[in-house]
C-alpha cells in the first residue's frame, strides 16, 4: 500500500473541491441558465433548467452539503420539474411557440437586469474583503445528523429551527390546498 493511498484512507475523504469540477459544473449551470431564458420551446427550457439544477446539486456536494444536494435532486429535479413538464403538456403551447418570445418591454427589463449585474460586479469588486478566502471543511459524514439536530433538537430540547420548520410545513399544506382548489374545474 503506497503512502498516498494510506493518507487518503486515513483522512476518510479525499478533497473534492478540485477546480476542474468547479469550472465544469459552474459552466454547465450558467449555460443551462442561458438556455432556459432563450429557448422558444418551454420543454427545451425545462430540460435546460434540469441541467442547471443538477449542476447546482453537484456544486452543493463540493461545498460539503450532501443533504442539500440530495434534497435538490429529489425535490427540484424529481418533483418540481416533473410538475413543470406536466403543466407544459397540459397547456397547449403550439400557438405560443410561433409567437414572439419576448414581451414588449424587453429592453427595459434587460436594462434593469444589466443594472443589477453592474451592482453585483461593483459589490464583488469593492467588497472582496468581506468574503474571506477561508473555506471550512465541514464534517461531511455527520452532515445529515447535524441538520436534523438543528431542525428537531436533541435530548428533549427544541431545536433552533423547529418553529420555522413547523411554519414551513404549514406553508406547504396551504400551498397544496390552494393548488387543488385552483385546478379544480368546479368549486
Amino acid at each position: 500500500m503506497n503512502p498516498v493511498m494510506n493518507s487518503a484512507l486515513n483522512s476518510g475523504m479525499a478533497p473534492v473541491a478540485t477546480p476542474f469540477f468547479f469550472y465544469m459544473l459552474a459552466g454547465l449551470a450558467v449555460i443551462g441558465g442561458v438556455l432556459v431564458i432563450t429557448r422558444r420551446n418551454a420543454v427545451h427550457s425545462a430540460l435546460a433548467l434540469i441541467v442547471t439544477l443538477l449542476a447546482v446539486a453537484g456544486l452543493y456536494l463540493m461545498l460539503y452539503a450532501p443533504f442539500v444536494a440530495g434534497v435538490q435532486i429529489i425535490v427540484y429535479a424529481g418533483g418540481i420539474m416533473v410538475l413543470f413538464l406536466f403543466v407544459i403538456m397540459l397547456v397547449n403551447i403550439e400557438r405560443s411557440s410561433k409567437e414572439r418570445r419576448f414581451n414588449r418591454m424587453w429592453p427595459v427589463g434587460l436594462a434593469a437586469a444589466c443594472a443589477l449585474l453592474a451592482l453585483f460586479v461593483s459589490a464583488f469588486a469593492k467588497g472582496k474583503a468581506l468574503f474571506p478566502d477561508r473555506m471550512m471543511t465541514l464534517p461531511e459524514s455527520s452532515n445529515t445528523q447535524q441538520i436534523a439536530t438543528m431542525l428537531y433538537g436533541e435530548a428533549g430540547r427544541m431545536g433552533q429551527y423547529t418553529f420555522a420548520f413547523e411554519i414551513a410545513s404549514l406553508l406547504l399544506l396551504v400551498a397544496i390546498l390552494g393548488a387543488v382548489i385552483m385546478t379544480k374545474k368546479k368549486i
Binding site: M5, M13, N41, V71, I73, I74, M89, E140, T144
Partner: protein, 430 residues
C-alpha cells in the same frame, strides 16, 4: 503501477471512500457490464418463465433453448433503422432514452453488493438513490412529449402522475426503515446504504422482521410502490399495450427503443436492490450472527459454487434430453459447451471457497467473502426479479384512476401510519 493496482486489494472500504479513482473506475465498468449482462439474462428468463406460465415454450430456435435469443434480438435492434418521426422534436426525441438510461445506471454507484463491494458509500446513499431513480420519469415524460403523438403523450402523462404519486408512499416506507437504523447504542441513524445493512447486522435482525409486523408492512408498501415506480404489470399503465399501443415509446424503434427497455430493466434491478438493502439484509447470508463459526462461513461460502453446479446439471440434463436427430447436433454441442462452462465456473467458485477456508491470506479471504456477499445479494435481487415476472403473468392491469386511488388513499395513509407507529415503538424501546 502494479503497486498502484494492488494497493486497494485487501482494503475494507469502498474505492470511493478510499479516494481511489482507479478502482472506482474499474468498479463502475464491472457494474456497467454486470448490469447489462443481467438485463440480457433477465430478458431471456422473463420470456422463458412467462412462456412456461402460459403453457408455451418460449424462444427455442436461436441457440439451444433460445439461449442466444437476447443476443440476436440486440443485434437486430442495433441494425434496425432509427426512425425519428418528421413532426417529432428531433433533439428531445433523441435525448429522451439517454435520460432514462443515465438515471437507471447512475443509481448503481451506491448499491452495496458487499461492505466494500460498492463504487462509493455516500452518506446520503438512500436519498441519492431515490432522487436519481426519480429522474427516470423525466426521460419517459420527455419521450412522450417529443413524439408529438397522442398515445405517447397520454402514456407520458399517466406515468408522470403515477411515478410522482407512488414516490410519496415509497419515500415514507423508506423513512420508516431508516428510523430503525437509529435503534442502536449511539442512537444515530444513517442514510448510507452500507450503514443500513450494517445496522441490520448489529441489531441482529432483518428490518422486514423488526417490530413485527411494522417492518413487514413498510416492506410490502415499498414492494408495491416499486412495481408502480418501474411501470411494470399490474401497474404498466404507461405502456399498456391494449390501451395505448405501446405508451410513451410507441414512436420509438431500433436502438433507441432498446435503450428504453434497458433502462426499464436496469431500474427494476435497482429498486429491487433498494428493497433488499433496506429490508432483507443486503449482502448478508442467512443467520450471520447465529451461525458465525468459521465452519459455517465455509459451508455458506460453498453456496455460489453449488448453485452454478446445479445450473450446470440442469444444462447437462437438457443436453441429454435433446432429440437425437442430427438436425439438433449443433444445438446439443452448444448446450453441452454451455453446461461445461457453467460447471467450470462452479468448480472455480468451489476452489475459491476451499482456498479461502484453508489459505488465510487476507486478499484470498477477502476475495472469498466478496464472492459470498455478491452471491447472496444477487440471489435476493433475483427473487424480486422473478416476482416481477410472476406478477406480469398473473394479474390484469389496474385502471389509471384505481391506481391513483390506491396510491393516495390506501398506500399513503398506511405508510404514514407505519412511520408514526414505528417512531413511537422506537422511542419506547430505546
Amino acid at each position: 503501477m502494479p503497486n498502484f493496482i494492488m494497493s486497494y486489494l485487501g482494503s475494507t472500504v469502498t474505492p470511493g471512500e478510499a479516494g481511489n479513482q482507479f478502482w472506482a473506475l474499474i468498479y463502475v465498468l464491472i457494474i456497467f457490464a454486470g448490469v447489462s449482462v443481467a438485463v440480457i439474462c433477465m430478458n431471456w428468463i422473463e420470456r422463458k418463465a412467462l412462456a412456461h406460465f402460459q403453457v408455451r415454450l418460449g424462444p427455442m430456435r436461436v441457440g439451444p433453448h433460445g439461449l442466444l435469443q437476447p443476443i440476436a434480438d440486440a443485434l437486430k435492434l442495433m441494425l434496425k433503422e432509427d426512425i425519428i418521426p418528421s413532426e417529432a422534436d428531433q433533439f428531445v426525441f433523441w435525448v429522451a432514452p439517454l435520460i432514462g438510461l443515465l438515471a437507471a445506471f447512475t443509481v448503481y454507484t451506491v448499491i452495496p453488493f458487499g461492505p466494500s463491494q460498492a463504487v462509493s458509500d455516500m452518506n446520503i446513499g438512500i436519498l441519492f438513490m431515490l432522487g436519481v431513480s426519480s429522474l427516470g420519469v423525466l426521460g419517459i415524460v420527455v419521450a412522450g412529449w417529443a413524439s408529438n403523438s397522442h398515445y405517447p403523450l397520454i402514456g407520458a402523462l399517466r406515468s408522470s402522475a403515477q411515478m410522482v404519486s407512488y414516490e410519496v408512499a415509497m419515500g415514507l416506507a423508506v423513512v420508516s426503515a431508516i428510523l430503525m437504523t437509529s435503534l442502536n447504542a449511539s442512537g444515530t441513524g444513517t442514510l448510507s446504504m452500507i450503514g443500513i445493512v450494517q445496522a441490520q447486522q448489529q441489531q441482529g435482525v432483518w428490518f422486514i422482521f423488526k417490530f413485527f409486523p411494522l417492518g413487514l408492512i413498510a416492506f410490502v408498501i415499498f414492494a408495491i410502490a416499486m412495481v408502480a415506480e418501474t411501470n411494470r404489470a399490474p401497474f404498466d399503465m404507461a405502456e399498456a399495450e391494449s390501451e395505448l399501443t405501446a405508451g410513451y415509446h410507441t414512436e420509438y424503434s431500433g436502438l433507441r427503443w432498446s435503450l428504453f427497455m434497458l433502462a426499464e430493466y436496469a431500474a427494476m434491478i435497482a429498486v429491487s436492490s433498494i428493497a433488499v438493502t433496506l429490508w432483507l439484509g443486503g449482502w448478508m447470508r442467512p443467520f450471520p450472527n447465529l451461525l458465525n463459526a468459521p465452519a459455517w462461513d465455509f459451508i455458506f461460502s460453498l453456496f455460489p459454487g453449488l448453485t452454478f453446479l446445479g445450473l450446470a446439471a440442469i444444462a447437462f440434463v437438457g443436453t441429454a434430453r435433446m432429440p437425437a436427430d442430427s438436425f439438433f447436433k449443433i444445438q446439443r454441442i452448444g448446450l453441452a459447451v454451455f453446461a461445461a462452462l457453467l460447471g467450470f465456473i462452479a468448480l472455480l467458485l468451489l476452489a475459491i471457497a476451499v482456498a479461502g477456508r484453508f489459505a488465510d491470506a487476507s486478499v484470498g479471504a477477502r476475495f472469498r467473502d466478496g464472492i459470498d456477499y455478491i452471491y447472496w445479494f444477487v440471489l435476493k435481487v433475483a427473487v424480486f426479479m422473478y416476482l416481477f415476472i410472476w406478477y406480469r403473468a398473473t394479474w390484469p392491469r389496474y385502471r389509471f384512476d384505481q391506481l391513483m386511488k390506491i396510491g393516495w388513499k390506501v398506500m399513503l395513509p398506511i405508510s404514514l401510519g407505519v412511520l408514526v407507529v414505528t417512531a413511537i415503538v422506537g422511542v419506547i424501546v430505546s
